[in-house]
Symmetry: D2
Subunit: 208 residues, 4 copies
């Protein structure tokens, strides 16, 4: 079915959610080399940045969904998943206040963007203010970019759909590990939940 992006992602009811595009995840301080490589090959940062810029120009609010840990771990479930146990073997991993938790500069417009920071879990809605924030803004569609297709992006799509939002995933501004698995997640999980569009298609819709 053809997607009517102009309607689906119409600026009056749309927000652009950027998932964990932080310096320590996909930027100059990236801790995940295989993911960083796929991001580089696909220009994930560049595609997300161009889409974010078009979003702002069209009046679509950009919300950075970021993750961090406090040094004392307050607010974080630190031992309840294999992934978190692995991450926290490095005591400095994504530490509040460090450069690693900053949004990648080319993706950020500090004057207009919002940030929804969480200290727990791997997806952006559960136990955060993201849903009330979007409701307060009249948002009914979320456009998603960022990392990763293993957890954060399908999690974002699932939570958003559960809450009643429509979702568009920017297909060239996401990545997973291994890269081919990321593509499979797009085809067999994300496709059930969300429309998929390239950054160029979104930019065209927002510039129209």
């Amino acid at each position: 079915m053809a997607i009517d992006l102009a309607e689906l992602a119409g600026p009056r009811h749309t927000a652009f959610l950027v998932m964990e595009m932080q310096r320590g995840v996909a930027g100059d301080l990236a801790a995940f080399p295989e993911l960083a490589e796929t991001c580089a090959e696909r220009d994930v940062v560049g595609n997300a940045a161009r889409a974010a810029e078009a979003a702002r120009a069209a009046g679509v609010r950009v919300v950075h969904c970021t993750a961090a840990f406090r040094a004392d771990r307050a607010g974080s479930h630190t031992g309840n998943s294999p992934f978190i146990r692995g991450l926290l073997r490095d005591p400095a991993h994504m530490l509040e206040g460090s450069g690693a938790v900053e949004v990648i500069p080319e993706l950020l417009d500090a004057a207009s963007d919002l940030e929804s920071r969480r200290y727990h879990g791997f997806s952006p809605f559960t136990g955060t203010s993201l849903d009330p924030t979007l409701r307060s803004l009249g948002v009914r569609t979320v456009v998603a970019a960022g990392l990763s297709l293993n957890l954060g992006i399908p999690g974002l799509c699932l939570e958003a759909v559960n809450l009643g939002y429509r979702v568009v995933v920017v297909s060239d501004a996401v990545a997973g590990v291994p890269a081919a698995y990321g593509d499979a997640v797009m085809a067999h999980t994300v496709a059930l939940l969300a429309a998929r569009a390239t950054s160029a298609e979104l930019i065209a819709a927002w510039e129209a």
Copy 2:
């Protein structure tokens, strides 16, 4: 790392969540032929049923996380994802009160099991009473079986981890479509969130 199932899934703090093992999903009225075939090949229903029986014998509460639609669609987001639009092309799909929404009989002990029924979304925690139910029971670990590895099982794992639970997925009591994609989800998504154990391993731990 070896998993200490006896501790991780200790009966005093564990619940067994059975995801959408309903007659219309994986039983005699199954609407998803490819999924049903994989379930049959792997004896997903049998493995889940044996694990559920061992759970009950050990004092682990079984909670059926089921899905249904009302004829008037109240409670359901009916148009916000490609999957839901596809499902609801059949006006009788998983209709409240029909046989399709019943738990597959060999998986159900109506006298002791709980049911958490939802009318919206594709994972069991968001917007339901499942979390308060588990908290009221003192649960800290959830063991998960059921369908599917495309949406429900990774969604269950993600929501549970976000909420602070530890998770074990019963590796021979789950399935996805295509089958090989389901295996990839276990390796590249579920493995980040949960321990994985066969039904035989869980039964052994619960019978010890």
Copy 3:
């Protein structure tokens, strides 16, 4: 400020929430004599019933927010508040399946009303499907009637406002204990959160 009830409670975006108007709370099996007396004096049941009937006639969905306990207490926090400890001294209090948990017959239209039953807590939104249900119906205003002004009604108003809904409380279809305290809650808490209208005013707005 004059309230524009026709707009505020317009049928297309309004639901009528009836809080715990159950036989064991305010009906023939009422366990709270002082509350029952105030209800009788003010014809709370009659006023709520007439408002509910007008709601249905106008196309406003009626949702009964009910409470119950399972015999085995699964799903209920049983010891974390003085009130719950008092209630559960009676092992038969509001037992699932008993007449006490039924909605008072004159308030119920089983063919069209919805029920949101909870086993925990004292207000209707936290940890239930009420919010997704209302969102799926396009509801933006909730009209509230029922019991009591000590807990359930201010709790409903507060949760609803927190979630972004506008609220109208039916001022002659609510009650508290002591009766004068209920009036004070209307003046000093509910008035901050909600518009207040009599059942007659609402019926007039819905019949217009």
Copy 4:
């Protein structure tokens, strides 16, 4: 029934929630004169500060539940309750970044306390990270102080009880408007949900 404060508020499982004790609510920039007067008469700030100090000394985490508004109102429901419409008539009310939103200095230990800031609603749990934060810390009892008995404190108690926490309200570190109504809320609403103890009783329990 006598309360065993040593057990109920035992430091290993307790957090101290300070509700909106901000300069613009009850401090030098207070916008609510009647509330400020009652606070002064009862030494609410002093009592809360002494209790907070004893909490920290006993290893009980202090969490400031604060409210603020962004200049552009993102994240806030701005028109859905009479109270919010009144507050926002002053465009500078509790503005993010202004002194009014700061925690009253004598109540704050910036090195150890946590803050849970919200931009919506009138109680601290709905749509915030407060519950995951407390769960991550192993908290099962919350001790509450702050403002006001009209909305925030009964709301905090209700949400906490709904979520399974036990609650203690510091009876001389809370206030409402009118003052006598606050006392009535303590007697007829808070008493159903929470134990009540003076700051001196709590300090004694924590120093024991």
